[in-house]
């Protein structure tokens, strides 16, 4: 039998970014004992990287805003594949969740009358993003962390979860190890909340850190839960492209929100050349009107740089492919030009975008107050993930919940900027609340030692192959292939090749090995992450192959238009009895009449 330590909690939260922290706080407030597992140190999760702001229709800056407009914007941005139950709840509850952060100590930038200031962002009709300069994510995670540490939550820092444990149909705990010493841990728990974030590390160019290896999606998949919408991956239009070592690092949409314009190498503002039908009535007719919008003129429409991320990313991609790109394969993002409009431009840029100023100055030697940035698309976010009930956030497996990026539904085919920070607050809270309720309602399940032994054996298997291939090399091959074959522009042939490639990579991953011992061994950790990356990569590829149309984050060169036949279902993946991946199309429940009307009114 394996050697391990056991910990018992009513609710176990896996992942300690915004969603996990918020879930843990809520579960704890419901009076149950809570364990919170972080893969890194507490407060380092990817939420710190969120820059632009948190979307909530508080109507502090424009009183025409309301949950109805936010709901309509979210549905339009998601191309109507969203779980509308979630989109409604999200739009209605986000303002309270943001105000609650203020109660816990968060300090947002202010309006002239002292309320929370809101800024413009892509796809949001009115200024809606509560923010703190361009470091909103840090403010949020620190607020949740500093509040959370006083709520009686047991935090397990630097722990990795490798398997969920089941009792019959139900999830009753998790198996993992502490990264520092490599000791096995068994967590016995009545309910488990997954809040592990995304899958960006499946790609070569990404804004995501090493942690985003699809752990939660893979854990859920192996536990028998449904994954949904995995073909919808967001390529953020503006990542850094130069120097090579910083390629992919995020450049906030806030740059465009503050007036930044996108230019090709001819100096042309190319975004004006392609306005999608869904947004025809919402885009400025010229640069002048776009600037008035940035400056808060309520009668002006947004500049085309503030269209949705999927569209902007494709336009940039097109410019580069047509030979109109910047020297290092991107396009130019220029905020310095606002000096033509305002007298204190450098101060204003530094005040509104301090991290961007710092990041470019130190990493690229570029002063953004006087010269343009070079930017290009970067893998940023997965709209798909664990399929959950919109109200409770429970997956198709009893006792297993998911919230934040790891869950699917809210964002449909494309996420609006700012909707992830509100997502993690709204649904983190709900997941915590319902997980606690579930935990109170049911007796503790039984932990099956056989499952622990299987998990332990699997976790140690890389050490059986000390001369096996270096897991980092396998990871790099996977990233290259996904970038190349299942990236921003997809075709049937490429993706068929990707499936073959994944089969080959599975064999390589199974033969990869590691030397050394279990104590803080990043090679071992990387070897174990490979399996998760392969699961999410295969799910994304199979889902993308099945969707023979272009919609949101999913663009097919061989099917460039939206198709009606694909407008009414989500793609769902589940592990079949033979261990293979099974795909089905799941009809979207018809939209409620009153919500239909809300969308009509806000067309």
């Amino acid at each position: 039998m394996s050697d391990y330590q056991t910990h018992e909690h009513d609710v176990l939260v896996i992942g300690a970014g915004g969603a996990g922290l918020r879930a843990a706080i809520e579960a704890s407030a419901a009076g149950v004992s809570v364990g919170l597992i972080c893969k890194s140190l507490l407060g380092k999760a990817h939420t710190v990287m969120a820059e632009g702001g948190v979307a909530a229709a508080m109507a502090n800056v424009d009183d025409r805003d309301s949950w109805k407009v936010h709901f309509s914007d979210t549905m339009r941005g998601g191309q109507y594949l969203n779980n509308w139950v979630m989109a409604e709840i999200h739009a209605k509850e986000a303002p309270d969740r943001v105000r609650e952060l203020e109660k816990w100590g968060a300090l947002f930038d202010r309006t002239k009358d002292g309320r929370i200031l809101q800024r413009n962002f892509g796809g949001h009709r009115y200024p809606r993003l509560a923010h703190v300069g361009d470091r909103t994510g840090l403010e949020m995670i620190r607020t949740l962390q500093d509040y959370g540490i006083h709520q009686g939550i047991t935090v397990y820092m630097e722990h990795t979860t490798t398997a969920l444990l089941k009792d019959g149909e139900r999830v009753v705990g998790a198996f993992g190890y502490d990264r520092e010493r490599g000791r096995f841990r068994v967590f016995k728990s009545n309910a488990v909340v997954l809040a592990t974030g995304g899958i960006g590390r499946a790609y070569k160019i990404t804004s995501n850190s090493w942690e985003y290896t699809g752990d939660g999606q893979a854990l859920a998949y192996y536990a028998g839960a449904d994954l949904m919408d995995m073909e919808f991956i967001q390529f953020h239009p503006t990542g850094m492209v130069w120097p090579p070592s910083v390629r992919g690092i995020l450049v906030t949409e806030g740059v465009r929100g503050e007036g930044g314009r996108l230019l090709n190498n001819k100096g042309e503002r190319f975004m004006f050349n392609d306005i999608p039908d869904l947004y025809k009535n919402q885009v400025a007719k010229d640069a002048e009107e776009g600037w008035r919008y940035v400056e808060g003129d309520k009668n002006a429409n947004r500049p085309p740089e503030l269209l949705t991320r999927d569209h902007v990313a494709r336009c940039i991609n097109r410019e580069v492919k047509a030979g109109r790109g910047s020297p290092h394969g991107g396009v130019f993002l220029d905020i310095a030009w606002i000096k033509e409009k305002v007298s204190n431009a450098p101060e204003r840029i530094k005040k509104k975008l301090p991290s961007m100023y710092h990041q470019f100055k130190e990493l690229a030697g570029v002063d953004i107050t006087s010269e343009p940035m070079e930017v290009g698309p970067t893998t940023h976010y997965v709209m798909g993930g664990v399929r959950v009930d919109g109200v409770t956030q429970m997956s198709s497996v009893p006792g297993l919940f998911a919230a934040g990026e790891v869950a699917a539904g809210l964002h449909g085919a494309n996420r609006l900027g700012g909707n992830s920070l509100s997502d993690l607050l709204v649904f983190g809270k709900r997941a915590g609340e319902h997980a606690a309720e579930f935990a109170k309602k049911y007796e503790a399940g039984t932990i099956d030692n056989a499952q622990i032994d299987v998990a332990a054996k699997k976790a140690l298997s890389p050490f059986d192959r000390p001369t096996g291939e270096n897991p980092y090399v396998v990871q790099h091959s996977l990233q290259e292939m996904m970038q190349d074959k299942v990236g921003i522009v997809r075709t049937e042939a490429d993706m068929a090749a990707a499936l073959d490639g994944l089969s080959a990579l599975k064999k390589r991953a199974a033969a990869a090995g590691i030397d050394g011992n279990r104590e803080y061994n990043p090679g071992w950790h990387t070897a174990l992450d490979l399996d998760n990356l392969l699961v999410v990569s295969e799910a994304a590829t199979r889902s993308a192959l099945d969707r023979q149309e272009s919609r949101g984050g999913h663009f097919r060169e061989d099917y460039q238009e939206k198709q009606k036949d694909f407008s009414q279902h989500n793609t769902v993946i589940r592990r079949g009895p033979d261990g293979g991946m099974q795909l089905r199309r799941e009809a979207i429940p018809p939209l409620r009449d009153d919500l239909k009307q809300v969308i009509e009114e806000n067309k």
Partner: protein, 262 residues
């Protein structure tokens, strides 16, 4: 401290040597690694390259790779810095680049140290306690200028480089009596928060050991977020503590006024 990376990266490739602290427990020593470096690379890139090429077990912490999470703190050529923000073209690559873990915390392995002490200290500081809401809907009104005053402190990414370099911790090991610059910044952010009503001055004096700081400003010099830790956080806190506990006039007034309600 800036990495002074104000120049554009060049495109050339060159071979460089990295002398990295390797091992755990008693078995630790420098180990040399050679790898190719190109324009714009940072120390963390080189470490990753070494992991991928020759030493998969080489332990280091990192997350965002953009100076926002504060995970990859280390000592590079003797200077406490973030590995992700230290460009190689700012270092002399004709010499080995020396990469060591932080020295003020227990060593775990290679470049990783046990920083859990910092989390324990923070937990002991009294949390935020807001005044009653200003508006009937439960919200507050604040001036941007009031918010701006503490934003500098709230930029802290908890890299603990300031803790690492503070001689009270590094040389005198006063971890049991002294909270360190990071937690003075944290306390300052709370004390100067426009809505906060809690009183932490006694705790600052007695538990956080603010008096041990003799304002040598080492912490300010290493802060990758350029927080003016000593001048803007520590000195004002020291003044408040002095006013509260040592100023004879204040003492006299205090005899006639009720204690600050929490």
């Amino acid at each position: 401290m800036s990495t002074s990376g104000n120049t554009s990266p060049s495109s050339g490739t060159q071979r460089a040597m990295f002398r990295v602290w390797k091992g755990q427990g008693e078995q630790v020593s420098f180990k040399d690694y050679h790898t190719d470096v190109t324009g714009g690379m940072v120390v963390l890139d080189a470490i990753h390259q070494i992991q991928a090429e020759t030493e998969p077990t080489l332990a280091c912490r990192w997350n965002c790779k953009a100076g926002k999470c504060g995970s990859c703190s280390a000592e590079i050529n003797g200077k406490p810095r973030l590995m992700c923000m230290t460009r190689l073209d700012t270092l002399d690559l004709s010499m080995p680049v020396i990469v060591e873990p932080m020295k003020s915390f227990p060593h775990v392995k290679d470049l990783v140290t046990d920083v859990s002490w910092n989390y324990e200290v923070k937990k002991r500081i009294k949390p935020f306690k807001p005044r009653k809401p200003d508006a009937p809907d439960g919200t507050w009104r604040m001036e941007q200028s009031d918010v701006d005053r503490v934003q500098e402190f709230r930029k802290c990414i908890e890299c603990f480089l300031c803790q690492n370099v503070c001689h009270v911790l590094r040389d005198h090991h006063k971890h049991d009596e002294f909270a360190g610059p990071r937690h003075f910044v944290y306390t300052a952010a709370l004390e100067m928060h426009p809505l906060d009503t809690e009183d932490r001055l006694g705790h600052l004096k007695d538990e956080e050991g603010l008096g041990y700081c003799n304002i040598t400003k080492c912490c300010t010099k290493v802060c990758p977020e350029h927080i003016t830790i000593t001048d803007n956080a520590i000195i004002p806190l020291k003044e408040r503590v002095v006013d509260e506990f040592y100023d004879p006039l204040t003492k006299l007034f205090k005899m006639f006024r009720p204690a600050k309600s929490g």
